[in-house]
């Protein structure tokens, strides 16, 4: 099954990191890539995160659909992974999956991202000699696709959990979907959290130094990051981890533009693995925890691992 990732630029400067033959008039699309015999393309809109957030949703959706139909018709793509804000703009991918103009399958890739994020939290705790049953975790963006799945998995393991989001109604739904005891709030109540997990689509860094407990662990899945490099420099006690990346298997020697060497977005890894498996299914909307578990099994099978964690691309030493 031929796959494609469909994303967008974070900032205009990202264009500079792209191979020139990927840039086209309307979109970004790579030549055909061969990943261990499975073919695919990396594609995207020529819009920045800011433009994605500020443009009318109908316009963005049409742009996504046009690109999806183009790669379907031109390259015989059957499986599309929606990256970054293309997921939220399409209601977790459901809008594209339901659209009859695109006949293939859609995956937001967030199931494996959520799984890897949970692994990252546990690995960080271990490195910092902490145990979840004695810690408070704050999840920012808790009712998002990734945040909700992570909350479902991690809330029962932590001593206390603070689930954060801006929309009261969405927080209410979250309370109905997450089992266990926790608190929800609309303000950034992270000051007492031992672990902060961010999974938002906020266009700027949300966390200031005042939001961070001494020696806090921050697993930042958000793109752009919710904790800035500058604050990280000011707060060396804080243990920050780039979320949403995994190590590529050695047999797949690609260098993804703008990513640390040997790393790949976990959402992209998920769609590659689905293509390997030739699984003809949509994985859109809320994450099915059974599917999430399955992505971990696929990762083990194909050699995608969270071996080495990074902070702004710099490897973190585990000792």
């Amino acid at each position: 099954m031929k796959f494609a990732t469909l994303g967008h630029l974070m900032i205009k400067e990202n264009i500079r990191d792209m191979p020139k033959d990927w840039i086209h008039d309307s979109w970004i699309y790579s030549p055909e890539l061969n990943v261990k015999g499975t073919k695919g393309h990396i594609t995207g809109l020529l819009l920045t995160a800011k433009e994605m957030m500020e443009s009318p949703i109908e316009e963005i959706r049409q742009n996504i659909l046009d690109l999806a139909v183009f790669i379907q018709d031109e390259f015989n793509v059957e499986l599309i992974q929606l990256g970054a804000l293309t997921t939220s703009v399409t209601s977790g991918g459901k809008w594209l999956a339901d659209n009859t103009s695109f006949s293939g399958f859609v995956n937001h890739g967030d199931s494996y991202t959520a799984a890897v994020t949970c692994q990252g939290v546990m690995k960080s705790l271990k490195i910092c000699h902490k145990v979840p049953s004695e810690c408070t975790i704050a999840v920012i963006g808790a009712y998002g696709i990734i945040g909700e799945a992570i909350s479902k998995i991690l809330v029962p393991q932590f001593n206390h959990s603070i689930l954060i989001g801006r929309n009261r109604h969405k927080l209410k739904n979250l309370r109905e979907n997450v089992k266990g005891d926790f608190e929800t709030t609309t303000y950034l109540s992270t000051r007492k959290a031992d672990v902060i997990l961010t999974a938002t689509s906020h266009p700027t860094a949300l966390l200031s130094s005042a939001h961070l407990k001494e020696n806090a662990i921050v697993v930042d899945v958000s793109q752009p990051p919710n904790l800035s490099y500058a604050i990280c420099q000011k707060r060396p006690d804080v243990f920050r981890v780039d979320g949403g990346f995994v190590d590529l298997p050695k047999q797949i020697p690609y260098q993804i533009p703008a990513l640390p060497k040997g790393k790949i977005f976990s959402c992209v890894a998920e769609v590659i693995m689905q293509a390997f498996e030739n699984e003809k299914k949509d994985h859109v909307g809320s994450i099915d925890l059974h599917h999430l578990k399955k992505t971990e099994e696929w990762a083990e099978k194909y050699g995608f691992t969270l071996h080495e964690m990074t902070n702004f691309g710099v490897p973190i030493k585990s000792d």
Partner: protein, 375 residues
């Protein structure tokens, strides 16, 4: 529920008298009945009113109430609303503490009546519409005068509320620790009251910074099959030298913010007593229980305390009969060593900091309302 004794005669039929038919009094009898049925059979409970009787209270059955009721094999079939969310407000900031089924909202008129009916069905001798008047000592017994007669008993339990007549008759030299409350009930207004739809309790701590040593509550309840919300406020003057906030002004402001126009004359208020470890709560042959002893001064949660006081008082009574020592001199230390005593001590510490603005109100709320730790 049972026949009253003949007027003004000396009644020798009972060894124990419980004054007050609320949860503390009934819990005392239910625990006696569980652990020493022979003593329960020689116990009379007098209640000044006739059941079902109104009781001003938020009606939240929470804390460890479920454990005690289960231990007593008490399952009441009354309308109730299961609450999993408590929303705390401090100015613009809010958070919701989510703990599945942490409160069961009931109407006290129904809860107290159902609990009493259950106790009577298990053999409790209940005398309704009978008032405690005073007691005198007679050798090692007490002669207790009520509006219906004189009882000769070995033990008297004052479970008759914050303004306990039994407590007053004991002439204790305690410093009074009395909080005030105000409360109104109004039909749920979907535009302003989200407590019913969202099945949550709201606790507003905003007014602490305006001098209130207390908080505002909004609780959902069902009255005659209809959705109501109870709006109330409590003020615990734990720092006696601090300037007093005007409860009336604050409550007016709160009701206006919810578009409630209930005349001040229709507001109801009741006192709450809180317990301090220096308080004397027993004298020979006489124990206090429930609100007559006092609850915690941070948020004033009461029903679980009442049920627990019943357990401690019953066990103290059983011990007294077993050892033939009716001094009850260890009752205070027994209470302090029990979960209720420890909890009250913790909440007192929270209240002292919270109402002196030395503790973040949300941290105080977490300290008191978090009921399950996952460790």
């Amino acid at each position: 529920m049972s026949s009253l004794p003949a007027n003004q005669k000396t009644i020798n039929d009972y060894d124990i008298m419980i004054v007050g038919g609320g949860p503390a009094g009934v819990s005392t009898w239910l625990h006696l009945n569980k652990y020493a049925p022979e003593l329960a059979a020689k116990t009379v409970l007098i209640e000044k009113e006739i059941f079902p009787r109104e009781k001003i209270c938020g009606g939240g059955i929470g804390g460890w109430s479920g454990v005690i009721l289960q231990n007593l094999d008490v399952h009441l079939d009354i309308p109730s609303l299961h609450i999993s969310d408590i929303e705390f407000i401090n100015g613009e900031k809010t958070f919701i503490l989510h703990q599945p089924n942490c409160f069961e909202m009931v109407r006290r008129i129904e809860f107290d009546h159902a609990l009493m009916k259950l106790a009577v069905s298990r053999g409790l001798m209940l005398h309704e519409d009978e008032l405690f008047l005073h007691f005198t000592r007679n050798h090692r017994n007490l002669l207790v005068n009520t509006t219906e007669g004189t009882y000769k008993v070995k033990v008297l339990i004052g479970a008759d509320g914050a303004l306990s007549s039994v407590r007053r008759s004991m002439n204790l030299s305690n410093i009074p620790h009395i909080a005030s409350t105000l409360e109104v009930f109004s039909p749920a207004n979907n535009a302003f009251d989200h407590e019913f739809d969202e099945k949550k309790i709201t606790v507003d701590l905003t007014f602490i910074k305006k001098g209130l040593q207390g908080y505002i509550w909004h609780v959902p309840c069902i009255k005659n099959g209809k959705s109501f919300v109870g709006h109330g406020m409590a003020n615990f003057p734990i720092h006696k030298k601090k300037p007093k906030a005007s409860m009336t002004n604050i409550f007016n402001q709160v009701l206006q913010s919810r578009n409630i126009a209930i005349d001040q004359k229709s507001w109801v208020g009741h006192p709450i007593r809180w317990y301090a470890k220096e308080d004397t709560i027993s004298i020979p042959n006489i124990l206090l229980a429930g609100d007559a002893v006092g609850i915690e001064p941070a948020f004033g949660g009461g029903i679980h305390f009442a049920l627990s006081y019943g357990e401690v008082s019953a066990k103290s009574i059983i011990n007294a009969f077993q050892t033939n020592d009716f001094s009850f001199q260890d009752y205070g230390t027994t209470i302090q060593a029990h979960l209720i005593g420890k909890w009250i001590a913790k909440c007192t510490s929270v209240a002292l900091s919270l109402y002196d603005m030395k503790m973040d109100p949300f941290d105080a709320a977490r300290e008191v309302f978090t009921i399950r730790k996952k460790k």
